[in-house]
Amino acid sequence: MKLDPKRSSYLPTPATLKRKEKLSEHVSLFVFEPDNGTLLGHKPGQFIMVSVYGVGEAPFSVSSAPVPDSKQFELAIRRTGTVTNAIHELEPGDRIGIRGPYGTFFPVQEFMGKDTLFIAGGLGYIPLRSLLHYQLRHRDEFGRIIVLVGTRNPRERIFTDQIMELGKRPDVEILETVDQPDQCWEGHCGVITTLLPKVDINPENTYVAMVGPPVMYRFVLSGCEDKCIPQDRIYVSLERRMKCGVGKCGHCQINGLNSCIEGPVFRYDRIAPLKEAL
């Protein structure tokens, strides 16, 4: 094999921050554009590795839908440590390094003509938003769009304006809940599983796309089972620690799978037998 060091898988390419917007106390939206003028070329559910030189590198889901005529892409990032803090410090015009897109994605072709039930727990809305916006751009090609959103408390809700807009659309059914309400919250209370009985779905014709914190999956999956949704129509995205993004460093293993290349999006029946998946 001929080696070209310039083509190192570990070399990021530059991208520039165009805009940022606060979504909640700890989460902000970042709009980037690759400096080389090319399209990121991601599919809904994929992630990229973001470098802030001098600080480090971390994986983030692309939250925007792939749009052929826009080179910009969006990340929504929660402040939690060194790299995420450094990204929050960036100002428009500042540069980062990106690698990817990496990993598996939601099979949008397969979802066409079918209903989709989105189940978003907390930051899980970030990757699902890419699929949701894709479907909304090609609204005619998909059946019902049902979105369940659960957040720990009203202060941590993200994309609130967009979710409110969605609520007004006749062709989107959206239900939201918070685990712990405050005085101002007038909506539904309770964990996300409590929303499931409220939606009436056709299990024969529905695909599920689900992303949330590790604790969420088991409960929601058993809720899906109650609704008779077959395992091979449920897609989940699983986050693990990731250092390389290309199947080498070992950090992201789920039993024998490397979730950076064989995931993060998995069809549920394929990982159901794995002990470390859920």
Partner: protein, 349 residues
């Protein structure tokens, strides 16, 4: 297949030549009695009959710490760093070469790891038939007593003063003939080399290894997720990571950065990491996917005995026995664990 006979007295001259072109590393016995690969000098006494090199050879391809990028924080631009010295490893045992062949596959798979592959391509490997078997080794029973590819030359000592040297590549042959022509090996010498290999293999087998065919290991593990052995043994685990650090087939790494004092430029580097260390699978929100020593301990045996097998069709443990020696709690021995699982699964049934 071309083979030559090389007499012992011819070797210093050859080493002198090779060392002019490449960094030559050979096995040596240190004052404490441990064998290890070191940089050759004319004073080095090569330990031809070493049983096991204390450190594995992966460090020549995947150094404990290696730069992968250099970056400029003012322009936020980066360049790849790919450092690959021309090197010769002389005296690599078959099981260790099989470990290297395994890394070759795993690091080339999918997105090739340029840093690893560049080092590998610049490395000449002279394999050496072992003449002794380390007390902790069990490579023959794991199917790792021979190697058919990955070497440039394969040396077998067939008398106190001579070697049978089989050619594996043109680069190897050129180096061998660098100091002049050599006699082609005779059929008798080839037979002698084969006898030597069988003798050593028999030694390894006699010493004891897996009590069942190694190919059964993945299936055995399929039945062993709930075995009490994981909890019983891991009670003594210090989570020190020694077992994975010394292992020739472990290649997990962490990625970190270092910034120059002027805060303008810096380097990204990778560093050996290991699934036995507590924070290996820790993510944001303080969720740890393998929080308990038991889970990490079990993962290592599954990785060696099943997950790697599922990827490349051979076991991720070559039976060198380094981990057996490195573990102060005496619980890191794959042979012992797999045998115990086998007995629990099949003998009592």
């Amino acid at each position: 297949m071309t083979a030559y006979t090389v007499s012992m007295e011819h070797i210093p001259g050859l080493l002198e030549k090779w060392a002019g072109e490449l960094d030559v590393h050979v096995p040596e016995q240190d004052p404490d009695g441990f064998y290890n690969f070191i940089a050759w000098t004319p004073e080095t006494e090569i330990a031809w009959d070493y049983d096991l090199a204390y450190n594995s050879l992966k460090r020549f391809f995947l150094p404990p710490k290696e730069d992968t990028l250099s970056f400029d924080m003012e322009t936020m631009r980066a360049e790849p760093v790919v450092d690959a010295p021309k090197q010769l490893l002389f005296g690599v045992h078959p099981y260790d070469l099989r470990a290297i062949n395994q890394l070759d596959q795993l690091l080339e798979m999918g997105e090739p790891d340029v840093n690893y592959l560049a080092r590998r391509q610049n490395t000449v490997i002279f394999a050496l038939e072992p003449s002794r078997v380390a007390p902790t080794s069990f490579w023959a029973s794991m199917g790792y007593d021979r190697v058919d590819l990955g070497y440039d030359l394969y040396w077998t000592r067939i008398s106190p003063s001579s070697f049978y040297v089989e050619v594996g590549s043109t680069a190897g042959e050129e180096l061998l003939l660098a100091a002049g022509a050599l006699p082609q090996a005779t059929g008798m010498e080839r037979e002698a080399a084969k006898r030597e290999r069988l003798r050593v293999r028999a030694r390894s087998i006699k010493q004891g290894g897996l009590k069942y065919p190694w190919q059964e290991t993945p299936r055995l593990l399929d039945k062993s997720w709930e075995s009490p052995i994981w909890r019983n043994n891991s009670k003594y685990c210090l989570s020190c990571g020694s077992c994975v650090t010394v292992c020739p087939t472990c290649y997990c790494f962490d990625v970190r950065e270092e910034v120059d004092v002027d805060l303008k430029k810096g380097k990204r580097f990778r560093e050996w990491d290991g699934c036995m260390l507590p924070s290996f699978a820790l993510v944001a929100g303080d969720h740890n996917f393998r929080e308990h020593a038991m889970e990490r301990y079990r993962h290592r045996y599954f990785r060696k005995g099943k997950y790697i097998y599922d990827k490349i069709g051979e076991l991720g443990c070559v039976g060198c026995g380094r981990c057996v020696r490195a573990c102060t709690s005496r619980i890191a021995n794959p042979k012992a664990v797999y045998n115990e699982l086998w007995e629990a699964t099949y003998d009592e049934a």
